[in-house]
């Protein structure tokens, strides 16, 4: 019996959370349309600078390493089976553009930017700063989430482009120095078609938009004191990362159907 009530409670809880998440999303879009009424001037630029400043090195380092590892593993396998490295660069570029670049950058952004936003807004929630905003007739979503949303959208795209370039470039160097692959042959964009670039763009923008919404939602839901902030930050990391993976799957599968399997 308690088991059934437990399930019931968690279903109701999940339903309420989904509604709240949806309201944050709608509220952000509405705030975007309404424009700047309550926010200080230059807040979006400030947030963009903040996100870029905090995440650039992180994205470059993590995506750089994983780019080297992926190329290394791919070349290792090719050496064992076919020994033909002529297509490794062009295939790798296609994969980086259509999947690995945006998705791994998205996971890293969920970790860095998402956790940062949730920690910040969560701290404001438990110290009643959110209520203080509301007392001045300011909608917290307008004031806090909208600028972070726009900033994450723009900077997310920028960081994804940089991260993917680093991922590919360091992959090329790995192939060159560990397996003697010709760099010229590696930098071969012939497999990258406009549809791959479109997928890249759709993925980067969806992740950049989803991460601040999920993180802001987690921050606004924080309760209690330090445990609440810890909970919000944790939930933002896991929620953001998981959202990236699920969106990646949905976008990739949709692209596959839209192109009739010709990717």
């Amino acid at each position: 019996m308690t088991f059934i009530t437990d399930i019931g409670t968690s279903v109701v809880g999940a339903y309420r959370a989904a509604i709240e998440l949806w309201l944050v999303f709608i509220g952000t879009l509405a705030g975007l349309i309404r424009g700047r009424k309550t926010r200080p001037k230059g807040e979006i630029l400030r947030q963009m600078f903040y996100i870029g400043n905090r995440s650039l090195a992180f994205i470059v380092v993590t995506l750089g390493f994983i780019g080297m590892v992926i190329t290394y593993q791919a070349c290792l396998q090719l050496a064992r089976i076919t020994g033909d490295f002529s297509q490794v660069g062009s295939q790798y570029m296609r994969l980086v553009v259509s999947d690995f670049g945006p998705t791994l950058a998205g996971m890293m952004l969920a970790t860095r930017v998402g956790a940062g936003i949730a920690a910040e807004i969560g701290s404001m929630k438990v110290t009643e700063q959110i209520d203080a905003l509301r007392m001045s007739g300011v909608a917290p979503i307008d004031y806090l989430i909208v600028p972070r949303f726009v900033a994450a959208l723009v900077m997310g795209l920028f960081l994804t482009i940089v991260g993917s370039a680093v991922m590919f470039g360091l992959g090329g160097l790995t192939a060159r120095y560990s397996f003697g692959v010709n760099l010229h042959a590696f930098f071969d964009p012939s497999f990258v078609r406009p549809r791959h670039l479109a997928i890249f763009l759709v993925k980067a923008l969806s992740y950049g938009g989803t991460i601040p919404i999920v993180a802001g939602f987690c921050g606004l839901r924080a309760r209690g004191s330090s445990e609440g902030v810890g909970w919000a930050t944790t939930a933002a990391v896991i929620g953001g990362s998981f959202a990236v993976i699920v969106l990646d799957f949905i976008i990739s599968a949709s692209a596959l159907f839209l192109t009739g399997g010709d990717l």
Binding site: F58, V61, T62, F65, I66, M68, V69, I70, Y72, Q73, L76, Q77, Q91, L95, S98, D99, T103, M107, M108, A110, T111, R112, A115, G116, A118, A119, E120, G122, S123, V126, T127, S225, S226, E227, G228, V229, G230, W231, A232, T233, T234, V237, I238, S241, F242, I245, V246, D248, F249, S252, A253, L256, G261, D262, L263
Partner: protein, 253 residues
């Protein structure tokens, strides 16, 4: 600019040093191995409980994704016998261990930091010290061991689920027969591919455990500090995972 860079480098050095020192203390506490068994079991249970659903889902999607990426290419060349090769190899060696470790870090590592840092800011660690209980031995060591064991176990489970995800995607979205996929896995994947990934997850587990405990016990400044500590811990864990992945891939081929 240079001063800021210098400060950042100093801060990084301080953190890496702190993590290494904490690692040393954990190792010393393990010789001779006097571990609080109850605390260890409690943590294993809690961490496993917390992370299994998210890891299983992540692994499933990751396997499916790898299939979605390699599938069209395999089909274009009519090489369906190789369908399981690319996806399976990528899942077992790289994508599986890395994605699972990242999700584990977000779920268990971050939670652990939140818990430890809340205990730290509410002076519970000092309370333990006042009772002559070593917080490292009592709180940190069981958590480190539990996280390593749990991540390895989850990677083994996750690998299986990811291959299942790849097979299901191959069947329903790419019209590749079940049997073809199974044969393809059996013919192209070697036990070493699996062991390579699991070995890495062992190291990832250690890295996540050390970073999450370090930022938990060194937190300063109330609720705001807790948020920052969790953020710093997941970021440090992600960097460590990528760095270790790179080093281990080169070392073990």
């Amino acid at each position: 600019m240079i001063a800021a860079l210098g400060a950042a480098v100093l801060e990084l050095t301080r953190q890496v040093g702190g993590i290494v020192v904490l690692g040393g203390k954990v190792l010393r506490a393990l010789i001779p191995p006097r571990i609080d068994g109850r605390e260890l079991v409690k943590n294993l249970h809690k961490m496993g409980n917390r992370s299994v659903p998210i890891v299983v889902l992540t692994a499933f999607f990751a396997g499916g994704l790898m299939m979605l990426q390699s599938g069209p290419f395999v089909k274009k060349f009519g090489a369906t016998a190789l369908a399981g090769w690319g996806a399976g190899y990528a899942v077992l060696r790289e994508i599986g261990p890395i994605l699972i470790a990242l999700m584990f870090s977000g779920r268990v590592g971050a939670n652990n930091t939140a818990e430890l840092s809340t205990m730290t800011v509410t002076e519970q660690l000092d309370g333990l010290r006042a009772l002559a209980i070593d917080p490292i031995r009592f709180l940190v060591v069981p958590r480190v061991l539990a996280m390593i064991v749990m991540l390895v176990a989850l990677t083994v489970i996750g690998d299986a689920v990811a291959l299942l995800g790849a097979t299901i995607v191959a069947h329903f979205m790419l019209d590749i027969e079940w049997a073809t996929m199974f044969h393809s896995f059996a013919d192209n994947l070697q036990p070493y591919d699996f062991l390579h990934g699991v070995a890495k997850s062992f190291a990832f587990g250690g890295a996540i455990a050390m970073t999450s405990c370090y930022f938990g016990v060194t937190v300063k400044g109330g609720a705001v500090g807790v948020g920052r500590a969790v953020n710093a811990a997941v970021v440090a864990a992600a960097v460590s995972i990528m760095l270790l992945d790179f080093l281990l891939t080169y070392l073990t081929g």
